[in-house]
């Protein structure tokens, strides 16, 4: 039985709780609960009207059962009834039940709101508070609609009791957070600010949270709060510990209110009024001074409350970032905490110092603590503290201490917790690049990183080292030598093999003079790793081999032999087999000149923001790294060692620039479609393109420089089949919509350029051929598209072909955008076109009987699963044309399904990588009215809606 049952105990409830506690197993508990639920249900359904006490007791039991984690599907009405009881205890339980189990049942909400309304106007403060608590706990939009106007009046009315004001303030805050549009500013706002002056500390404590939230959104309207807050703070800070009576907490005067005041001030810049500012600086100094005084109590509550204020004051000092003296004092104070015996304080000091490190006034002061922080990274027992230390080291790093910090981070990585390794790797990679004075140090660092934590080195990191090595010829020889040495280790990480394969393939010649790293030795070393590697790495190695044949003709026969053996040329993996076949052929038929051109050294990569930084930002949220990053940029003149500190998102690497997911102008579609494209006018192009992007762009890069395009080599001339299209400027909505029900035709045409499309789709994959035809007799120069590099010159009258592979990852509405740029007679032409990739392209037709069709139709009967449109016919209502269009859509056209033979019904399944989405369609023509009614049902609402939009433009 219970220890105590204060106030009004409910015996039945206590017995029930005891029973549950005595249950030996989960099954027994469920049995007991079901028994109780049956009992309560019968009581609620019984003829005998229940008295208030029983109703309260049963509602309370239901609540208990719900809180145990079981579902409750009845009792709401009884709880609502309790709200209108005039017995406080019953009302209270009713409100508690409603607060915990909100039900969006509109009928109930109306009843609940009625009861609340009655209590709010009862003028009984206890009832009013109950009602306000309920609104604050539920905070639904319906409640905001009903009460957002009323509560401000209660809050500022002269005769409202203090306790009601407190509840009203926080209740309004909750409504403002959920439905800001419903809480209208008005005459009350100025009076709310003056609550900061209220005599009752509780009222100030509650009101200030509301004021802070409102100030963030409407700073101008509330700016008078700054001086009020400063004077209130000043009074608290300078008060003796006994002045505030019960608002003093373990000898600290009003810690909660102080923190909230300091927090409010962080919504504004430093006060302009000199007197106010002086007073505030005085407060901040007093708070810093108090930290040095001996504690008034040994209790942790005392020091926590005191330090809570101190940390909030430091946050304000950092926010102002204008008082060097205070910043340095703050830093010294935090420095003391770094060695405090309380783990909590060490954690917070590390966290807070991280933001101090980005201020120019305190950056140097923070740096003096480097040894302590490094020590924390090595010795803290709690991983969350070590994480903070790593963050701080990252934030305090600059050119003067980069080598030390990177070295410490690397050595920490050897034993670092798995949970933070990936982030640490990114940080090391970024610091190494950012502060690299000599690039050999950079190469060493990254290779060490791969050696120590290879599993956590993401693609971005090793892409980046390759980009940098390619762009800096002073480091290429060193990189080749170092990676060659690293590969000698008996067990080396696959990422090392990737970097090694790429770098030796490009720059192996720089170390080939040394007999210890002669071409054959290099090749044998790489090939000794081959069999242990995954398919993508092997593919990369094969590309390295063909580059070897070009660099070192003496290796040709050895490598050809490798390529020729069954395990390559008959490999079950298509990609590997294809590479082996192509490279073998290339090496045997191409002349050395052709080979040299095809396998020319990679051109330098355009400089841009490091993809690694973008990744870290994504991982940590924008605030976490950008502050320090931008600060650094500012200090060193915007560009650091070829690093553009650039907020604009650009593609992470040239290697996968072809993927639209990372293209410079991401459209919403980019989330859903990944396109890989390449351009293949040479003989290589006849082979099957792989759906996976060529990791290192060898295939795409090589042919571009290899063979110019001529109009004569085109395989398909699509222009002959399509009539001339109206020329459109900018976005091609007309052209785009014409492709919903067909796959081939002219996408765009103007006086200069014609773009033809041929496409084919299977399941969730597709391939699209784009033909760019120069209609003029003048050459286009600097021709480029966002898909993938093409030959920049398009001769007059010539046509250029591009092929893209498409994979539908999940359903989407917006089409990918294609940007085309070129110069014609000196003028820059810029076109932006929607690629005609629509969700219906991934339809698989589904045949089904009438019975099946209607059964499924009924299963999809939720309102959001259906999209319907009634529209006027734009074209003659020809049955055969309609059928052709519906078939072109990709669905199966089902005969004898609809009872009305005039109607059309179709069924299909959209294949995406993520899921399959079933869709049913019904088109009802009305010949007299020249109207259609189109209905779509789909297991996914966005799909039904999108198909309906697309199709309603087709008939």
């Amino acid at each position: 039985m219970p220890a105590v049952s204060k106030g009004d105990g409910m015996r039945g409830l206590a017995v029930f709780i005891s029973d549950i506690r005595n249950c030996k197993s989960k099954e027994a508990e469920i049995k007991r609960i079901n028994k109780e639920l049956a009992n309560i249900r019968s009581k609620f359904k019984g003829d005998k009207a229940l008295d208030g006490y029983s109703k309260k007791k049963y509602v309370c039991k239901l609540l208990f059962i719900f809180l145990l984690g079981h579902d409750i599907d009845f009792g709401h009405m009884e709880a609502v009834n309790l709200l209108s009881s005039n017995k406080y205890t019953e009302k209270q339980i009713g409100y508690l039940f409603i607060s915990v189990l909100v039900n969006s049942n509109s009928e109930l909400i109306r009843l609940i709101n009625n009861a609340i309304k009655n209590d709010l106007s009862s003028r009984n403060p206890t009832f009013m508070c109950l009602a306000l608590h309920c609104i604050a706990n539920v905070g639904s939009r319906e409640m905001a609609e009903a009460f957002a106007g009323e509560i401000p009046r209660i809050l500022v009315a002269g005769d409202t009791m203090d306790s009601v004001k407190q509840s009203a303030a926080l209740c309004l805050l909750r409504l403002y957070k959920t439905s800001p549009d419903l809480v209208l500013m008005g005459e009350w706002t100025s009076r709310v600010v003056h609550l900061l002056n209220d005599q009752h500390m509780g009222v100030v404590t509650a009101a200030i949270s509301l004021i802070t939230c409102l100030s963030q959104k409407n700073p101008d309207e509330f700016k008078t709060c700054v001086s009020l807050a400063v004077s209130r703070l000043s009074r608290i800070v300078s008060s003796a510990s006994t002045d505030l009576q019960d608002y003093t907490y373990y000898f600290v005067p009003a810690p909660w209110l102080s923190c909230k005041l300091l927090r409010l001030l962080q919504c504004y810049p430093p006060p302009e009024d000199g007197a106010v500012k002086g007073r505030l600086v005085e407060c901040l100094e007093t708070i810093l001074n108090k930290a040095q005084e001996p504690p008034k109590s040994k209790k942790v509550q005392h020091s926590n409350a005191k330090n809570a204020i101190l940390f909030e004051a430091i946050a304000l000092i950092i926010h102002y970032d204008s008082e060097p003296n205070l910043l340095v004092r703050a830093c010294n104070q935090l420095g003391q905490f770094l060695q405090h015996r309380e783990t909590n304080l060490r954690y917070l000091a590390l966290e807070s110092m991280c933001t101090l490190a980005s201020s120019e006034f305190s950056h140097e002061a923070v740096k003096t603590h480097i040894e302590t922080v490094i020590n924390a990274l090595k010795t803290e027992r709690d991983v969350s503290v070590r994480q903070r230390a790593a963050d701080l080291l990252y934030a305090m790093c600059d050119r003067s201490n980069a080598k030390q910090i990177v070295a410490e981070m690397l050595s920490y990585l050897e034993t670092a917790d798995y949970s933070i390794r990936e982030e640490m790797v990114l940080k090391v990679a970024i610091l190494a690049e950012k502060y690299a004075v000599d690039y050999s140090w950079y190469v060493d660092t990254i290779l060490n990183l791969i050696r120590i934590a290879g599993d956590y080195v993401s693609e971005e990191v090793w892409y980046r080292v390759i980009q940098i090595v390619i762009n800096r010829d002073d480091v290429q020889g060193y990189a080749a030598k170092t990676v060659f040495e690293a590969l000698q280790a008996p067990a080396c990480h696959e990422n090392m093999v990737k970097v090694g394969g790429y770098i030796l393939g490009e720059f192996g010649n720089l170390i080939a003079g040394d007999p210890r790293s002669s071409p054959l030795v290099q090749f044998n070393l790489l090939h000794s790793k081959f069999h242990l590697c995954s398919v993508p790495t092997r593919a990369l190695l094969l590309s390295a081999y063909i580059k070897f044949i070009n660099l070192f003709p003496e290796t040709k026969s050895t490598i050809q032999e490798v390529l020729r053996c069954d395990s390559q040329i008959r490999n079950s993996d298509v990609e590997l087999q294809q590479r082996a076949v192509e490279y073998l052929k290339l090496s045997s038929i191409a002349s050395t000149d052709v080979l040299a051109t095809v396998l020319e050294e990679m051109p330098p990569f355009p400089e841009r923001e490091s993809s690694i930084l973008a990744k870290l930002k994504k991982k940590k949220g924008p605030g976490a790294v950008s502050a320090g990053e931008l600060e650094e940029g500012k200090r060193e003149g915007g560009e650091v060692n070829g690093w553009e500190v650039n907020q604009q998102k650009s593609e992470p690497s040239q290697e996968n620039a072809s993927s639209l997911t990372t293209s410079p102008s991401p459209t919403p579609t980019a989330m859903h479609l990944s396109l890989t494209s390449f351009f293949f006018p040479s003989s290589l192009s006849q082979s099957t393109p792989s759906p996976s992007a060529d990791l290192l762009g060898l295939r795409s890069a090589a042919p571009v420089s290899a063979a110019p395009v001529s109009a004569g080599s085109l395989l398909v001339d699509v222009f002959s089949e399509a009539g001339p299209a109206a020329s459109t400027a900018g976005v091609n909505d007309d052209g785009f919509l014409r492709f919903v029900c067909k796959n081939n035709g002219v996408l765009f045409e103007n006086q200069l350029l014609q773009i033809g499309i041929k496409s084919e789709y299977r399941q969730n994959l597709g391939r699209m051929y784009l033909f760019y035809g120069n209609k003029t007799s003048v050459q286009f120069v600097s021709f480029s598209t966002t898909l993938k590099p093409v030959d920049p010159l398009v001769e007059g009258g010539a046509q250029v072909q591009q092929v893209i592979n498409i994979e539908c990852l999940s359903d989407f509405s917006d089409a990918p955008l294609l940007n085309i740029k070129f110069r014609y007679g000196g003028a820059l032409q810029n076109l932006s076109l929607k690629l005609p990739v629509t969700i219906n392209k991934f339809f698989q037709p589904t045949e089904m009987s009438s019975h099946d069709f209607f059964q499924r139709w009924k299963q999809l009967s939720q309102p959001q699963q259906e999209a319907q449109k009634i529209f006027k016919a734009n074209h003659p209502m020809d049955t055969e044309v309609l059928k052709a269009k519906l078939l072109g859509l990709g669905t199966a056209l089902l005969d004898n399904v609809d009872p009305n033979p005039e109607n059309f019904v179709c069924a299909g399944v959209i294949q995406t990588k993520a899921q399959q989405i079933g869709c049913l369609l019904r088109l009802e023509p009305n010949a007299q009215a020249q109207m259609y009614r189109l209905t779509l049902r789909s297991s996914k609402d966005t799909v039904a809606k999108r198909l309906c939009e697309l199709l309603s433009e087709q008939f």
């Binding site: 220890a3 508690l96 909750r174 409350a305 783990t343 909590n344």
Partner: protein, 153 residues
């Protein structure tokens, strides 16, 4: 504050208060994940941890863990003392509170919390004022209970 959870060393949830709208499913998922994370931590560890995009502040009192989720801008130390003040309120009200009091009088634990925190913000930090409000309510209960018992007996 986004939510507060009280759970036992065995991982049984004793009180849950949510100040942001979440589905029941989401609440259960969060609870499961957090209970597991916090229980796995060793006694001397720091009371704060990053979790998703929130900061978790927790403290153990006897067999019960008090765990709050706050936002990035919120103050960890003052949140620790919010927990402590709540414990003091419970202690004063029940007289040396223990886990059983909260199990058997869960509704009271909720009422006290509502007087102290509302919408995730401190409403009244004076111990005296909060207890006065609760005691007044209890007084009202006793009166009505007497009225109620007259009918039944």
């Amino acid at each position: 504050m986004q939510f507060m959870l009280l759970f036992s060393r065995q991982g049984k949830l004793r009180l849950q208060k949510w100040y942001v709208p979440l589905s029941d499913k989401e609440k259960k998922k969060i609870t499961r994940e957090l209970v597991q994370t916090v229980l796995a931590r060793k006694p001397k560890m720091c009371s704060f941890l990053e979790w998703r995009d929130l900061k978790i502040v927790y403290k153990r009192y006897a067999s019960l863990y008090f765990c709050c989720a706050i936002e990035d801008q919120d103050n960890e130390l003052i949140t620790l003392e919010i927990i402590h003040r709540y414990v003091e309120l419970l202690d004063k009200y029940f007289g040396s509170v223990c886990e059983l009091d909260i199990i058997f009088n869960f509704e009271k634990a909720y009422f006290i919390l509502d007087e102290f925190l509302l919408g995730g913000e401190a409403q009244e930090t004076s111990k005296k004022n909060v207890l006065k409000a609760i005691e007044q309510a209890d007084l009202l209960q006793e009166v009505s209970h007497h009225e109620g018992s007259r009918f039944v007996d």
